[in-house]
């Protein structure tokens, strides 16, 4: 197992180098001189030349890429053009908001998706089965940004139940160790902040959560249908086990492997969906940071955010593979 993990970690290196290469050459092909963007249109030629030298822009592209890779390996993506802050620090500041949102969305999508999928498979061809199919097809086809806007109109404007934007009420000041407000407030026993954070995350997480919900419900249903026809399920039923135990202990566990794969893959869609959801709900995460960086042509931040997203995605795929072995003891990695 450890050898497998090590091998997978080593395979990650060329993928990350490849990702860095794609991002580097894409960003370098953007028209316009980064030095001019940094200093402004009316700066002197000497100042521009100096900045170009400082940023290494006067060197050949391939040399620039080599230095870029070295810096990526050190976690150094340069400084933001707009705030002059290190990009890593910008990402670190925004990452907790994104992780809090995606994890809450994933929890919501997984729980509802699993319950819907299991119920649909158990009561095949019933109303709930048809309803699950409708929900999953609808969820996959729904533009998450439009769903967010509709949720705002309905639950923040017409019925003012949830706030329109942000992570906390502007009157509340709160700082925690991890930056994950929900977790930090729980750890500090500050339930007023906890309640406000849940209140703020509810709508964005609900909207973003429809992405995994649809796929998880669909995959759970088809995987459960396959397992429920197996001999061991008939045996469990014949032994007189209660149907709840047959479904949740015997069937679901065996049906989970493809569902976990879908969950892992969905995390990628969630990260992508987070870009749109964060933009709508003014959620201060990396998605919004990347959109703002593209608008401002803030190259170091664009590079940093995209490579970081890809890195997280690759790590999640690895974790999913490792998780298989825990769910299904028949899987042994050599």
């Amino acid at each position: 197992m450890y050898r497998y993990i090590l091998r997978r970690l080593l395979i990650m290196i060329p993928v990350i180098i490849g990702v860095s290469a794609v991002v580097f050459f894409l960003i370098r092909s953007i028209p316009g001189d980064p030095a001019l963007i940094l200093l402004g249109e009316h700066s002197s030629e000497e100042a521009v030349a100096k900045i170009r030298e400082q940023l290494g822009l006067d060197k050949p592209k391939i040399v620039q890429f080599f230095y870029f890779l070295l810096n990526v390996a050190k976690g150094d993506f340069g400084r933001s053009f707009t705030t002059n802050e290190f990009v890593v620090i910008e990402i670190a500041k925004h990452f907790p908001a994104t992780i809090e949102l995606t994890v809450c969305s994933m929890i919501f999508g997984s729980i509802v998706g699993l319950v819907l999928g299991v119920t649909a498979a158990t009561y095949r061809n019933s109303i709930i089965d048809y309803l699950t199919t409708v929900i999953s097809v609808t969820g996959i086809s729904m533009p998450v940004f439009w769903l967010g806007l509709m949720a705002i109109i309905l639950f923040s404007i017409k019925l003012p139940i949830f706030p329109i934007s942000g992570r906390l009420d502007p009157t509340i000041t709160f700082s925690g160790r991890t930056g994950l407000i929900i977790l930090d407030s729980l750890l500090q026993g500050n339930f007023a902040v906890f309640k406000d954070a849940i209140h703020h995350i509810f709508l964005p997480a609900l909207c973003l959560g429809t992405i995994p919900l649809a796929s998880i419900a669909r995959m759970t249903r088809s995987s459960m249908l396959e397992v429920l026809n197996q001999d061991f399920i008939r045996t469990a039923k014949a032994k007189g086990l209660p149907s709840r135990k047959v479904i949740y202990t015997h069937a679901l566990r065996n049906a989970l492997i493809p569902v976990v794969t879908v969950m892992g893959l969905q995390f990628g869609s969630l990260l992508g969906g987070a870009v749109l959801t964060e933009t709508i709900f003014a959620w201060p995460g990396i998605g919004r940071l990347s959109v703002e960086a593209i608008d401002a042509r803030n190259y170091p931040v664009i590079q940093g955010c995209i490579i970081f997203f890809a890195f997280i995605f690759v790590i999640i795929n690895l974790l999913v593979d490792i998780l298989y072995a825990f769910i299904d003891p028949r899987i042994r990695y050599e």
Binding site: P14, V22, S141, F145, I153, S222, V291, I306, F313
Partner: protein, 274 residues
């Protein structure tokens, strides 16, 4: 082909096809169906709620939302068509070459696609858009590029199975050229999974392009693209909620049409997944 039409005995697939045909119809006959020009501004009628003269209301420049949505169908269908055609062309070529020749070509192509798949789709599209510049044509290219690995993988996986079939070996034994074997014997036998992917990717492409439009990186004003319409209408969400409601419904219905048709095709071609 006649067998393929049996898929429409599935009511959902038929509903999907009819939805798509509806959007194709309004796109083709937009000039005759749309009550107004999609670009015609009438500031005296700005932000009017749905009424008899403007069935879906007007936007902040007094343009008729229904007309813009009807013309928008052209753009969305074109985005799907061009981006899927791009992904299909490159994906089929790369997948077939990879499966048939194997070796270093296969390894290199698959690693390249691994790298592309390491990006969340919309982010890769955003990065490409950042390089190409915000524009409708560039959005089509970006969405097409992000779809290439999916097509290449599906084509490769299907072609690897077909390659081992006896009729392919017989064709090789008869000394037929590689290109003839690939295009005459392998490609026609993997059309099924490709068709399913084309349908699903068409919906996905419309969704991704609308996302780019919404972020201001796709079609630019005054183009009546649905995502861009949503983006421009965002500021009026409180005073004129209809401006954001209807373009979203159009995106949703068109994507839904392609998705349920794709699902029906997949169920038909692989009944185990039903």
């Amino acid at each position: 082909m006649r067998r393929l039409f049996k898929v429409f005995r599935n009511k959902a697939a038929l509903a999907g096809l009819l939805t798509i045909l509806f959007f194709i119809f309004i796109a083709v006959f937009a000039e005759f169906i749309a009550p107004y020009s999609p670009y015609e501004q009438n500031l005296a009628d700005r932000l009017q709620p749905p009424s008899k003269s403007h069935l879906l209301g007007t936007d902040d420049l007094g343009r008729d939302i229904l007309s813009r949505i009807i013309y928008g169908a052209r753009i969305s269908l074109a985005i799907g068509l061009i981006s899927v055609a791009l992904a299909l062309g490159v994906g089929i070529s790369a997948g077939l070459v990879s499966a048939y020749y194997g070796g270093i070509v296969d390894t290199l192509l698959m690693r390249l696609f691994d790298v592309m798949l390491a990006f969340p789709t919309i982010l890769l599209a955003m990065a490409i858009m950042a390089a190409l510049g915000p524009d409708l044509e560039n959005a089509m290219i970006a969405v097409g590029i992000v779809n290439i690995p999916t097509f290449a993988r599906i084509v490769r996986a299907s072609a690897l199975i077909v390659k081992e079939q006896e009729y392919v070996m017989a064709a090789q034994a008869l000394g037929q050229s590689n290109s003839k074997i690939i295009f005459r014997h392998i490609l026609p036998n993997i059309v099924g999974p490709i068709t399913v992917q084309v349908t699903l990717s068409y919906g996905g492409s419309i969704l991704n392009a609308a996302g780019l439009g919404f972020l201001g990186m796709g079609a630019q004003p005054p183009t009546p693209e649905w995502g861009a319409m949503l983006s421009q209408a965002r500021s009026f969400i409180i005073s004129a909620p209809w401006t954001v409601t209807f373009p979203g419904i159009a995106i949703f219905l068109s994507v839904l049409g392609f998705n349920i048709l794709g699902d029906g095709l997949r169920d038909f071609l692989d009944p185990r997944l039903r």
